[in-house]
Amino acid sequence: MTVTPEIKLAPEESSIPALLARNARRFGMQTAYREKEFGIWQSWTWAETHAEVRAMALGFLALGMARGDYVAIIGRNRPALYWAMVAAQSVGAVPVPLYQDAVAEEMAYVLDHCGARYVVCGDQEQVDKVLEVQEKVTCIEEILYLDKRGMRKYDHSHMNWLEDVMREGRAAETRLSGELERRTAELTLDHTCVMLYTSGTTGKPKGVVLSNRNIIVTSKNSSEFDDLRPGDEILAYLPMAWVGDFIFAIGQAYWTGFCVNCPESAQTMLTDLREIGPTYYFAPPRVFENMLTTVMIRMEDASPLKRRIFNHFMGFARVVGPRLLDGRDVGLGSKLKYGLGDLLVYGPLKDTLGLRRIRVAYTAGEAIGPEIFDFYRSLGINLKQLYGQTEASVFITQQPDGEVRSDTVGVPSPGVEVRIADTGEVYYRSPGTFESYYKNAESTASTKDPEGWVATGDAGFFEEGSGHLRIIDRAKDVGKMADGRMFAPKYVENKLKFFPNILEAVVFGNSRDRCVAFINIDLAAVGSWAERNNIAYSSYQELAGLKRVLDTIQEHVEQVNESVAQDAMLAGCQIHRFLVLHKELDADDGEMTRTRKVRRRIVEEKFADLIDALYSDKDSIYTETEVTYEDGRKGKLKATLEIRDAKVFGDARRMAAE
């Protein structure tokens, strides 16, 4: 890995407000923002956007906004809120977007921590939350709001309608424009661009300070990587407080000069997606999964002829589509047939989903099922994966066109260096690496070393041959097996969970000689399978214990073993024995968090008898489990569980070594 040369940027590219001015000159008449309001897409060109932001910035000056002030922004994705961020930057203040669905308590912490003097709210709901915490958070001086509805009766002594602020700004143009130009001109690459709070899964949220250099260089690199162009369109629907939204809808949009479209409301997202037909799109795996499910359900209800055409061409696309997308030769016959399929199935389907014009789509955040991933790619949608985090200004690795697979997260993004520590943890260093955690030198020091390397907290490795990074698990969950081989439970569990029949899986094996697993069946999927095959069952427990269900699960486990065996490093994680649990893991019983993540420790303690049985030679085990019903009463579940041996596959390398 080479050290990246220092990237030189022109002064007109050294801050977001400067980029806005550049865009207003360069693409003045092109559309910069669109928002659907009153049923019609309203649009603003770059020149208009520049004028709006300028008016807002002048208004902020009139309100007395000072250099270095923190300005909180709370609301759904709307152009005026994006402008408020850029306007704040223009006067030398720092925007701090907040999650709009945060409860007042969480909001209070962030507002207090950054010492926000100004809060820009989307609507009455957000204003109410801010007012609620204002007693505790004394730093807030002015509340601004965008949507006037319901606000008439509020005490406006420290409250302003954003439109009024802009009007006052325009009125004071002669008096304030000199000051505004001075402040905007002062901004350099080292000034703070934005402060984003990481959602605090562990402890309190931390304010990640990102400089203009972080954002602009990262945006430049990633825009060039995917050849983003001024004519591109994106739909801005992800939370504004999330780093990805800031990079896509501000960083890359201002760098490249493409158009940001804001949906009418959260519920109309899918309709708006279809109307806009973005060319560049990001969605977490869950969104792609839901879209696919909707398609499949609708196909189930379609006429037999349509269903047969769909199934035939989708089967064909699975084979040919991804290869075509990667630019490989598939032969003239296949090409023609794919063209026919495009006419009959793929095209109309993409149209319905609003994905017809996509050139680049990304997914990230968690593992995506290969089935889902391949579905979109076989349709000819260039869906790729990336790996990143707030502290890196998103990009750590991403997949180049033509090298896309469902199980890797790609090669290091341009300008990013990645290394794997001896512990298996992934470290990176990049121009996007954050400056610091706000008012938290201790955390900054423990996350970022003096040379600029940042620990991701994830364990992974570079695949030999392709040089692609593969993330296997959270570093703290990764262990070693008795013989020293790597144990990465989540990696195997994810593979298991990709089967619709498997809802949850928990793999054990840390410091043991082999791995075993608990499986939870998915009641909906297995239940409907039972219904279709006329298999009667009276309870979850009975269904989970049926021989044919166990046979199916065993097949799944063996398939997973086969694929795990391909991986030299992880071959030790193959599942030797498993059982299907008699109850669903449940947050009420403490086995899961409320966000449905398995609490490994607790499961391990609670079902210690089952784990012991899995590591013995027994082929069944009697167990009693305490459960909590929804009304809080407790009960006992008794069951005899069958333990199955799964076929494991040879690990070629290990055998050669022995």
Partner: protein, 274 residues
């Protein structure tokens, strides 16, 4: 205590201005053959207020609303509207005088989209003739745009953008009620009549509906008359309440006054027989 009886109007605790009398019902008696549905009832409705009519089943609430909307014509008594005695009118004529309503049993066009349903509320604001409409020419085109703009504002206000193009038949009950409210609002009424807007709704839908009724009153200053069974809702929403029982008026005043009224308690809770 607020002086709710003065002619000039008053200002409520939350800062809304209530004006003078908009409509006055004077000694209304309504009979169906030998059955007396409404017996000599008088009360008034002021500009800008939320006026509730409550009472047990069969008390004559809906009949009263139908008298206001001109669907029933009382045998005795008169309706004074905007200072003039209202002559006998057909319901559509009453509607043109600025009175819109929703129905207890949803009365929407099930096969039409939400947007089209709400557009029907603008009917009285369309002046283009049949020929112009048919040829989509001149006035017709212009009017459609103006009216669509008004309708879109209401869609935005009631937060139903996501169902704009959905046929009404596919909507859940709570949303249908909201669409009905939207259609009534589209007529830009001076007085809005709501016949049990909350009936059959779950708690969340009720809360939403309450908020919308208050917001409508607040934003547009629409005078609202509503019939409701849910006492909690009535007490929270309304400025003044008329209580009916067996066609008679047994109470009239602020929610506070009505709540402490002996006769009302008797009608609602019954009396102990010892």
């Amino acid at each position: 205590m607020l002086d709710t009886q003065s002619d000039e109007g008053y200002v409520t605790a939350d800062g809304r201005k209530i004006g003078g009398v908009a409509m006055e019902m004077k000694n209304i008696t309504l009979r169906f053959g030998g059955v007396i549905a409404i017996k000599d009832i008088s009360f008034d409705i002021r500009w800008g207020e939320v006026r509730a009519i409550i009472g047990p089943n069969g008390a004559g609430k809906s009949s009263m609303l139908n008298v206001i909307s001109g669907f029933y014509h009382p045998q005795e008594g008169e309706v004074i509207y905007k200072g003039y005695r209202r002559p006998k009118m057909r319901p559509y004529q009453v509607a043109r005088t600025g009175i819109a309503r929703t129905f207890q049993n949803i009365a929407l066009f099930e096969g039409m989209s939400v947007l089209d349903n709400i557009m029907t509320g603008r009917l009285h604001h369309m002046k283009a003739n049949l020929l112009q409409q048919a040829l989509w020419w001149g006035k017709a085109n212009r009017e459609e745009q103006e009216n669509r703009e008004k309708v879109e504002k209401i869609i935005d206000f009631l937060e139903i953008q996501h169902i704009r193009k959905t046929p009404v038949a596919r909507l859940p009950y709570g949303l249908k009620k909201r669409v009905e409210l939207a259609r009534a609002l589209a007529a830009e009424p001076s007085i809005l009549l709501l016949d049990e807007p909350m009936a059959g709704m779950n708690v969340e839908e009720k809360e939403d509906m309450c908020r919308f009724i208050l917001d409508v009153n607040d934003e547009f200053g629409t005078t609202t008359v509503l019939i409701e069974h849910d006492m909690g809702v009535v007490m929270d929403l309304s400025d003044r309440v008329v209580v009916m029982d067996y066609g008679r008026k047994i109470g009239d005043g602020t929610p506070e006054e009505v709540r402490n009224n002996e006769e009302v308690i008797k009608a609602y809770l019954g009396v102990a027989h010892d």
